[in-house]
Subunit: 271 residues, 6 copies
C-alpha cells in the first residue's frame, strides 16, 4: 500500500501499531485527538477528532488502507459514546467513500459487542450480537456501518471483535480473552493480504486453551495465533477461588462491563 491510516494511534495498541504495521505501506498516516509527537521516517501525523466530519474527510485523502483504533475504548456516558464511536465510525466510512482509494478497513470492534453471552457458550462469526454496555452497542453500530458500506459501495472491512490486547493477561478472565500484540498485528496483515476479504467478523484472541470463540468460519484469512495466555494460567489461578457463577462479571463474556450499570456522567477525555 501507498498510505495506511491508523486512527487512535496514541492509544495502547496504537503506539505498538506504529512500529508493527510500518512494513505494510510506504507511508503511515497516524492520527489521534491527543498529541502524537514527532513524525518518524515514512510517517505523517495528523491530529483530528474522529467525531469531526470535516477533519476525518481531510484525514482520508489519498488513503488506501485503514486501521481504525480511534474512539472511546471503554464504557462511558452516552455523549462521548455517541460522539466518538457512533458518529465517529460513520464519519470514517463516509470519508473513505468520498476521499479514499477504496481502502480496506480494519474495524476494531470488541468482545463487548457480544458480552452478554455466557462464558459457557461458544460463539462464532454467526453468533448474534448482545452488547453488554453502551460501548458495546456502539461497536455493534460500527459493525453495521461496515456492512452497509460493503453492500452499497464495495468497501471491504475486517470486523475484529477484540478480546484483551495487552502485553500480558492481567486477570483470570484474560486467560480466555487475551490477545498478544503479535497476534493482533499478524491478523491485520492477513486482512490486507487475502485476495478477497468481504466484510467478515473475526474474534481477536490468542490461542488460549480457555478461549470462548471459534474463528473457523473466517479460516480463509489464513490467520493462526502464535501466542497463548496459558503461560500465565497457573499464576492467575493459583489460590484464587473458582468464583460465584451467578456474578455477572463471572457469568458473562463481557466480565466487568456486563456487571456495571449505566454511566450518567462522562469520563474526562475519551477517544
Amino acid at each position: 500500500m501507498k498510505r495506511l491510516l491508523i486512527t487512535g494511534a496514541g492509544g495502547g495498541i496504537g503506539r505498538e501499531a506504529r512500529g508493527a504495521l510500518a512494513p505494510l505501506a510506504e507511508t503511515l498516516r497516524l492520527s489521534d485527538v491527543v498529541d502524537l509527537g514527532e513524525a518518524g521516517a515514512n510517517e505523517e501525523i495528523v491530529t483530528a477528532d474522529i467525531g469531526d466530519a470535516a477533519a476525518v474527510e481531510a484525514l482520508m485523502e489519498g488513503v488506501d488502507g485503514v486501521v481504525h483504533l480511534g474512539g472511546v475504548s471503554v464504557e462511558d456516558a452516552i455523549d462521548p459514546i455517541l460522539h466518538a464511536n457512533v458518529r465517529g465510525v460513520y464519519n470514517l466510512y463516509e470519508a473513505a467513500r468520498m476521499h479514499g482509494r477504496r481502502p480496506r478497513i480494519i474495524f476494531a470492534s470488541s468482545n463487548h459487542a457480544i458480552g452478554f453471552h455466557p462464558v459457557t457458550e461458544r460463539l462464532d462469526a454467526d453468533s448474534v450480537p448482545i452488547a453488554d454496555s453502551l460501548y458495546g452497542a456502539s461497536k455493534v453500530w460500527g459493525e453495521q456501518i461496515a456492512l452497509i458500506y460493503w453492500h452499497k459501495f464495495g468497501i471491504e472491512s475486517l470486523r475484529i471483535r477484540i478480546g484483551s490486547v495487552f502485553p500480558e493477561p492481567k486477570d483470570r478472565r484474560m486467560l480466555s480473552t487475551w490477545m498478544s500484540y503479535r497476534d493482533f498485528f499478524s491478523l491485520i496483515r492477513r486482512a490486507f493480504m487475502v485476495p478477497a476479504l468481504g466484510c467478515p467478523v473475526v474474534y481477536g484472541a490468542s490461542d488460549n486453551s480457555a478461549g470462548w470463540w471459534d474463528n473457523s468460519k473466517t479460516g480463509f484469512l489464513g490467520w493462526r495465533p502464535q501466542d497463548s495466555a496459558d503461560r500465565w494460567r497457573a499464576e492467575k489461578e493459583d489460590g484464587a477461588p473458582p468464583g460465584d457463577g451467578e456474578d455477572p462479571a463471572v457469568k458473562y463474556q463481557g466480565g466487568g462491563f456486563a456487571k456495571a450499570g449505566i454511566m450518567r456522567t462522562p469520563r474526562t477525555g475519551g477517544g
Copy 2:
C-alpha cells in the same frame, strides 16, 4: 395496565394504535413531537421530543407499559437519525429504568435492520442483523439497548422487526412484507399477555404466502396473524415483469432502502 405510553402517536401506525390499544390500559399516555389534538376519554397527551432526555423522563413517570413507535421512520441523514433514534431509544430505556414501573416495552424495530439479506433467504430470530441504511443501523442499535436493559435491569421488551404496516400492500415487495393493523396490534397484545416475555425478536408481517420470515422461535408468544397480502397478489403482479434480480431493490429484503445511497442532507421534519 394502569398506564400505557405510546410514543410516535401522531404517525400512521400511532393514530391507529390510539383506538386499538385503548382496551389494554386504564389510561393511554400519547406522545409525539407533533400536535396530537385533544385528549379523548382515558387519554393523556404529552408533546415531547424523544431526543430530549428530560422530556422523556417526565413522559415515563408512572408508566407500566410502553409501545415505542417514535423517532425517524425512514432513511434520513446522520443528524436526525442520531438524535431521534440512537439517542432517543437510549433516553426511553433510561427513563423507563429511572421513572417507570418496570414496564414491558414494545420496540418498533424494522426489517431494515436485516435489509441486506437477499430475498431468497429465510430468516428467523437468530439471523444476524445486516442493516441496509443508517435508519436500519439505528434500529440495530435500539435492539441492542433493549437487550442491555433486559440483562442488566430485567426490563422486558418485544423487538418487532416490522415489515410494512399499511392499510393494504402498495407494491409487489409488500406481498412479502405487509402487515395489517389488526395483526400488528394483536401481536402487541400478546406481548403484554404472556407470563414471561424476555427480550425476543419477532418479525412483523401478516400471513403472506411469499413472506421471508420464520417466527417459530418466538412461538411461545401465541401470536398468529389473521390477514394476508395474498388478497392483493394478482393485482400487484399482473402485467408486471418479474424484474431484474441483480437490482438491489429487488435482490435484497430491504428493497429501496438497500438500493439508496447515503443522505447527506436531512429531510425536513423527522420523528
Copy 3:
C-alpha cells in the same frame, strides 16, 4: 392387530383409551394395579403391577401392540419412581422381547423429560433432555430403554413427550401444553399405521398457538392435531397478571415440577 395391550388403563387417559382405541384391535387387553371393573366385549382385564417382572411377562403373552400409560404419572419420592417407572419400563420391554409378537410400543413419556428448558425456547425431536424432577428423569430413562430395544432387537416405539391431556386446559400454562383426548388418540393411531416407525420422539400437544414444540422432524407420521387450547385463552388470561418471569414455575416448560423440591416421602398409591 389381534391384541393391543393398554397399561395404566385405570388412569385418566387410560379410561378414555378403552373406548377410543377399541377399533385398533380385535381384543384390548387392559391392565392396571387398580381394579378395572368388568371386561366389556372384546376386552380382557388383567390386574398387574408393572414393577413385577413375572406379572408383566404374563401380561405381554400374545400381544402385538402396546400403549404403555402405566406407572407413576406425577412427581413422587425415589422408591415409587424406581419401582413403577424405572424398573417398570424395563419389565415392559423385556417382556415384549420375550413374550410379545414384536409389538409396536407407544411409550407415554412426558414434557417433564425436557422441563428445564425455558418457555422462550422452541424444542424439537433433537433437543436434549433436561428433566425437571425424578419423575422426568424416569421418563428419560424410559426413552432410553425404548431406544435400546429398537437398536438391539428391532422393537419399534413412539416416544410421546406428553404435555397435558385433560378434557380442557386447567390453567394458563396449559394454553401451551394442552392436548385433547382426540388428538392424543389420533397420534397413537398414526403410530400403528405408518409403514416404518423406528423410534422417534414426538411432542404431545394440540394445535395451541402458544405451543413450545416443533414436531416437523416427525412429520412422516402424518399426524395433525385438530384441537386447540386457544378456545380457552381469553378465559385463562383475563384478569391474570402476566407473572414473574423469574419464578421457575413460569420460566421453565415443566411449570410446577421445575419449581418443586425433592420429595423424601412417597405419596400413597402411585401408578
Copy 4:
C-alpha cells in the same frame, strides 16, 4: 411471456401442461420425441430428441421460458439415461444460452435425487443429494447443470424435486409424495412471477400430512399447495399392514427405486 417451451409435452404431465400453462405465454412451443398431434391455437409443435444438440438448439430459438419435462422419467439402463437425461439437460441449457432470450427454466428434477434418505428423516433445500438409481443420479447431474448456468451466465432455474404427479395417489407411499396437477402448475406459475428467482430447490408435493419435505427455505416463491393426499388416506391404509421397516422400498424415500437393482438392458422407448 412471448414463447414458452414445454419439453416432454407428450408425457403424462406434459399433456396436462398444455392446457394449464397456456395462460402464461402468447405461444406455447410443445416438443417431444413422440408425435404430439395437431397444434392448437397459439401452439407450435416441434418433434425433437432432447439428446440431439442441433435439434435442441433449433427448439430454443426465440424462447423466453422453458418447462423441461423431457427425458427418461423412470429408471433405465445407462445408455438411455446418458442420452436423454445427462446429455439432454446439457443440450437444453447450452441451447438456452446460445439461442434463447435468457429464459427462466423449470427443471423437472425428482425425489429420486434424494431417494436414499430414510422416510423418517425430514429434508429441506439444503439436504445433500443421495440418488437412489441411475435415473436419480441423472437428476442430480441436471441440478448441477442448472447451477452452472446460473453462476456462469445468470440463467435462472427452479429445480423441482418432484414427488408423484398423478391424478390421485396410487399407493401408500404416495400419501407422502403425491402432488396434484393443480399444485404442480401453480408452482410453475410462481417461478415465472417472482421478481428474483435465482436457482433454488423446491420439493414437489401437495399438502400431505405425511410429507417428508420442508419447503420453508424456498418460501419466497409464495407457493402454497392447495391439495392433499389425505383424502385417500383411509382407502390406502385400511387393511394394509404397516410393512417391514427394513425393506428398502419402505425404509427409503425413493421407494421401489431404492430397492431395485441396476438395469443392464434398456427399456424400449424412453423419453
Copy 5:
C-alpha cells in the same frame, strides 16, 4: 478445597486418582464397597455402599468437592444397575444437597450413554443420548440427576462421557476412545479451577486422531489433552482386517456393549 470425596476409589481409575488428585484438597476422603487398605497422609477411608442412602449421607459430611467414580462400571443385570447406579447417583446428589458444602461434582458418565451413535458420526455436547445398554441408560439417568440438582439447587457438575481410561489402548476401538490417566485427571482439575462451571457435558478421550467427539462447546474449561492413542496405532492395526462394518461392535461407538444382549443374571460383585 478442604475435603474432596472420591467414590469408587478401589477401582482401576480410583486407585490412580488417589495419588493424582491429592494436590487438589487438604484431605482426600476415599470410599468404596471394597476394602481400601490403610489411609495415607491426608486421607480418610470410608467403606460404604453407594446404594445405601444413610451411608452416603454420612460420607458427604463436610465435603466440598466430589469425584464420583463409584457404582457398576460395566454392563450388568437390572438389579445391580438399579441399586448402584440409578439409586446410587440419586443418593449421592441428595446427600450433597443435605450434607455437603455445595460441592462441585465430577460425574463419571460414559460413552455408553451415546453408544448407539454410529462410528461415522461426530458428536458434541448437544448430541442426544442413545444408550447402548442398561449400564448406558443408568449413565443417562445420572446425567439427568446432575442437571436437576444444578437447576433446582445450583449444584454444579461436570458430566464426563468417559471413553476408555486405561494405561494404554487395548484394541482397535480404543484408538478412538482411549484416555490416559494424565488427561483424565487434568480434566478433573480444570473442573475445579474454572470460575463458572454450570453442568456441561464433556467427552473423555485423549487427543486421538481417530476420535469421534468434539469438545469445542466445552472449550471454556480450558482443557487440552496431552496424550494420544496414535502411538499404538500401527501395533493395533497391523495385520488386522478392516472388519465388517455391519457388525454392531464395529458399527456403533459403544462397541461390544452395542452388540451384547440383555443380561438376565447379575455378575457377582458390581460397584
Copy 6:
C-alpha cells in the same frame, strides 16, 4: 490386500501412487489409456479405456481395493467428459459389483464439485455440491454413483474432493487448496485401515492455514495431514496485489474453473 487396482496410473498422481501405495497390497494392478511401460515387481499393467465397459470388467477381476484416479482431470467438452467420467465411473462400480471382491473404492472427486461456493465460506462434508464446470458436474455424478453402490450393494467408498495435488503450490489459490503427495497417500491408507468406512466425503488438502474445508465430520478416519502450503506463503503473496474480489477466479473456490466458459471443442487426449 491381495490386489489393489490403480486407474489413471499414468497421470501425475498416478505415477507417484505406484511407489507410495505398493505396501498396501501384494500386487498392484496399474491401468491407464496411455502406455505405462514395464511392470515392476508385484505389478500388473493393463491398458484400458475407462469408458469401455468390457475392458473395465476385465480390469476388475480379482481386485479387492481400487484407487480410481482415471478419467478426464480438467475441464473439457461434453463428449470426453461423458465418456471418461460419467460413463467411466459407472463402468467402474458396475465392474466392481460383478467381478471384484467387494473392494473398497477410493474415488478421486474434486473441489470442482463444490467450486461455486465462495472462498469466504467454510465447507464440510454436508455442504451441498455446486459444480463449477462440466468436469465438476461429472464428479458430482461420480459421488452419486458411489452412494448408490454403497446403499444398494454395500460397496464402501471414500469420496475425496481433491484440492491441488502437486509437488508444491503453484499460485496463490493453492495456498488454500494444496495437498502434498504424502498427505494424499496417507489419506488413502486410512481408508483401507478403518474398521468401517461407509461412503463419506473428505476434502483433500494439506494443513494449510488459509484452507476452506473442515474435515471434522470425517474425523473417524484418523487422518491428519502433515504438510502445509504455508511454507510457500510469503513467496506467493509477496508483491502480489490482493486481487479483485468480484473476479470469479478470485471469488469462488473453483478458481479459474469458475471463471471459464463452456468448451465446445474437446481437448485432444483426455484421461
